[in-house]
Amino acid sequence: MYSKLQPDSIAPAVDIIERKHERVVVVDLPGADESTIEVNAENDLLTLTARVAAQEPQDMQVLYRGFELRDYRRVFTLPDDVDRQRISAKCKHGVLHVTLPKRPEAQARRKQIKVEKE
């Protein structure tokens, strides 16, 4: 699946939010072609990849360069409590939201354990 990615892909900036029933990974993918975004949960790894489609102006002199458009790739370990079957993702204006729901039984397992006094 990574064969078409440039070898020097860069790690996109992310925010990671944890809510009671899910985690959300918010990924900045400016210039990425939405149809090439791949969110892959395999074994214990969450792999995010995207190919850049934006074109730079041709036949112009570069006066200042603050960023380079390159393919994106970043890998995270998946915590045990993520329900892999229900992972979903959506993308708008170059921002990808990956929602990783927690398994209900995992939430139940998180119950606080009462410490009894002797």
Partner: protein, 145 residues
């Protein structure tokens, strides 16, 4: 080709995450996107006819991006909103830049403000700035006897 070395990161901080310092160092060493001090990151091009500025502004409402031109200075400004968090939600990482921004660029020549155009696509802003006619070099015909 699968890169031989892939750094695998954790989603959660705390017990299983890297310490902040180490993570910051890794980020500096590995060249993360959006690492620059200046937000948004921009590129500037020019030729004798026009200049082009591109900016990385993913997740914006295009109508909330302001472009102002005065002479040879172009200013991009606006606000990128942060993800909204409720009280019981935890932010494990916040690498994406947000908040008010304003960046000004001085170009090699004055711009025709009424001819400036901009488009926003896939989180990238591209502003095309045609050169002001009055600043273009004029060839003067030399009259002979």
């Amino acid at each position: 080709m699968i890169p031989i070395l892939t750094r695998v990161e954790t989603l959660d901080d705390g017990l299983f995450g890297l310490g902040n310092l180490q993570r910051e160092m890794n980020r500096l060493l590995e060249g993360y996107a959006g690492r620059g001090e200046d937000f948004p990151a921009i590129n500037v091009w020019s030729n004798p006819e026009k200049a082009v500025i591109t900016a990385e502004l993913p997740g914006m409402d295009p109508a909330a991006i302001n472009i102002a031109v005065q002479g040879d200075v172009v200013t991009l400004s606006g606000e990128r909103k942060a993800e909204e968090l409720d009280k019981d939600e935890v932010l494990h990482r916040q690498e994406r830049r947000h908040g008010q921004f304003s960046r000004s660029v001085r170009l090699p020549y004055a711009i025709a403000p009424d001819k400036v155009s901009a488009r926003y696509n896939r989180g990238l802003l591209e502003v095309t700035l045609p050169r002001h006619e009055g600043t273009k070099p004029r060839r003067i015909a030399v009259a002979g006897d």
